[in-house]
């Protein structure tokens, strides 16, 4: 049985969230919030330190400019906060946080993860149009009128599998429930009771089934259209090597990227001899290697937030490739990124008896 309490409604869902935030800060439950705020018509994660900042909160806006997990990574690199920080995240952000915690890149001391239900987000252009149209960005169903991002269309996690506290609104007929999901979350609130999530569970089940069929469509498309030597080279060749996809990716965990290092630096003559052996050599070089390496590094932990796709200036269908490869790798290890902080990342562990089909030895 889910445990928690309902937030008193004060008008729209957005208003209810704002009054909840106000309560959190006023009662000293939390000292600071990191939550999506309105920044001149757009939405960005921002710190809210006092009640007067709460009016900027736009937590439910269907736009995700960056994956906030990356911000927490930067924030706690030297030391975690000394004050109680509540972080309001979308499920894909919360799942990325779990992966980064396991990679020792986020320290959750004094950080409380509030995961909000998410029906999906729109891209930059979509959100601009939404604002221009004067639509209410905090109406959860509005997102379907402006076209979900590819990543959201096939997202199987409208609710995060892990959080300290969940902010739930899907399937609750306009009310908002605060579900306590961890011991850390329990410390924050008194008056916790049982929540009736029967209708919510049904709504979620239908939603996820829809998403599963969308995911199947995308994987089918990748298998048919984005596969094979010719095709992979063709679709990745517009890459200009800007590495935007790498810098926005929350999972891309190397402290210093191999491709920013001098490891692959070569003498001019070596480039020329490579060009000679190929016939011609496209510059900047190693872009295909860059993407394949990134897939390799990211695949076990990819949360499919699709930020890479949004950041690509050349519109390379990179999300489909990452989704397809990471799905296969995660299925291989029966691993789901973001499911739990305790579960080991596949590459950090092994079993003595596995993958018999890829290895060979003549004598035992």
């Amino acid at each position: 049985m889910a445990r928690g309490f309902l937030i008193e409604s004060s008008g729209s869902l957005g208003d209810s969230i704002r009054s909840f935030c106000e309560r959190l800060l006023k009662d000293g439950v939390l000292d600071v919030l990191l939550i999506p705020i309105d920044v001149n018509g757009f939405v960005f994660p921002g710190f809210v330190t006092g009640v007067e900042g709460v009016r900027y909160v736009k937590a439910l806006s269907p736009y995700m400019p960056v994956n906030t997990a990356g911000i927490l990574q930067k924030l706690t690199r030297i030391s975690p906060p000394s004050k109680k920080l509540g972080v309001f995240l979308r499920p894909c952000e919360a799942r990325a946080v779990v992966e980064l915690v396991k990679l020792n890149q986020i320290n959750l001391e004094n950080i409380f993860v509030f995961s909000m239900d998410c029906l999906g987000t729109v891209d930059f252009e979509g959100y601009r149009k939404l604002v221009e149209d004067g639509a209410d960005p905090e109406d959860p169903s509005i997102v379907f009128n402006y076209g979900l991002r590819d990543a959201c269309k096939c997202c199987l996690h409208p609710v995060s599998p892990w959080a300290d506290v969940r902010i739930c609104f899907i399937g609750l007929n306009g009310s908002i429930a605060v579900e306590i999901c961890s011991g850390k979350g329990e410390e924050l609130f008194k008056d916790i009771g049982d929540l009736d999530f029967t209708s919510r569970e049904n709504v979620l089940k239908n939603l996820i089934n829809e998403r599963i069929s969308e995911e199947r469509k995308l994987l089918e498309y990748q298998r048919k259209e984005l596969r094979g030597h010719e095709k992979i080279i063709e679709i990745l060749s517009p890459c200009i090597g800007c590495k935007n996809c790498m810098s926005v990716c929350p999972i891309c965990y190397c402290r210093e990227c191999f491709f920013n290092s001098t490891n692959f630096d070569m003498d001019a003559d070596r480039y020329l001899s490579l060009a000679k052996s190929y016939g011609v050599l496209k510059m900047p070089s190693d872009t295909l290697l860059f993407h394949l390496t990134r897939m390799l590094h990211v695949a076990p932990s990819c949360v499919a937030c699709g930020m890479c796709q949004e950041a690509c200036p050349q519109n390379i269908p990179i999300f489909a490739l990452f989704k397809a490869t990471s799905k296969r790798v995660q299925d291989l290890f029966d691993y789901e990124p973001g499911r739990s902080v305790e579960e080991e990342i596949p590459v950090r562990t092994f079993q003595e008896d596995e993958f018999a089909h890829i290895q060979s030895s003549i004598s035992k």
């Binding site: 990748q222 984005l226 596969r227 094979g228 030597h229 010719e230 095709k231 992979i232 080279i233 060749s237 191999f258 490579l274 052996s277 190929y278 016939g279 011609v280 050599l281 496209k282 510059m283 900047p284 070089s285 190693d286 872009t287 295909l288 290697l289 394949l292 390496t293 897939m295 390799l296 695949a299 076990p300 490739l321 397809a324 490869t325 296969r328 790798v329 291989l332 596949p346 590459v347 092994f350 079993q351 003595e352 596995e354 993958f355 890829i358 290895q359 060979s360 030895s361 003549i362 004598s363």
Partner: protein, 137 residues
């Protein structure tokens, strides 16, 4: 046709086996280009991918038998990484079967030569790396 097969061989086993194959005058194809590494667990898969993208027709990783790793469990870790590389190449349709992973211990010179001949033959049957002659980068 001249094939290029890059071999990453563990110092403690397959590399020694390759040496032994030479010492006992077992012939193995010159398409195999051995690179000695300290452990299969020390091979960053990026070099496997790099070999393919720079025109290698096959990559052969040779390590100690499971349970016999000089560094306790390097070969188990390598096996997982190579499983991931193979899955990804399979999803992208980039011919994962050009990657070989074998366990050959230091005393198995003849077995090393046998594998070398077999891998050379299988790669020849597959033909040149399809990436060859395309504008890649």
């Amino acid at each position: 046709m001249d094939m290029k097969i890059i071999g990453f061989f563990c110092h403690w086993c397959t590399s020694t086996a390759a040496d032994l194959a030479g010492t006992i005058r077992e012939k193995y194809p010159s398409s195999i280009k051995p690179i000695r590494v300290m452990c299969t667990g020390s091979i960053d898969p990026i070099y496997i991918l790099d070999a393919f993208l720079k025109g290698a027709d096959g990559v052969w990783i040779g390590g100690c038998k499971p349970g016999e790793c000089h560094y306790v469990n390097g070969n188990f870790k390598a096996r997982r990484r190579i499983a991931i590389v193979k899955e990804i190449l399979d999803v992208l349709g980039l011919d994962p079967d050009r990657i070989y992973l074998t366990w050959i211990s230091a005393s198995e010179g003849p077995q090393f030569a046998e594998w070398a001949r077999r891998i050379d033959r299988e790669i020849k049957e597959k033909g040149k790396n399809p990436i060859f002659g395309k504008i890649v980068s």
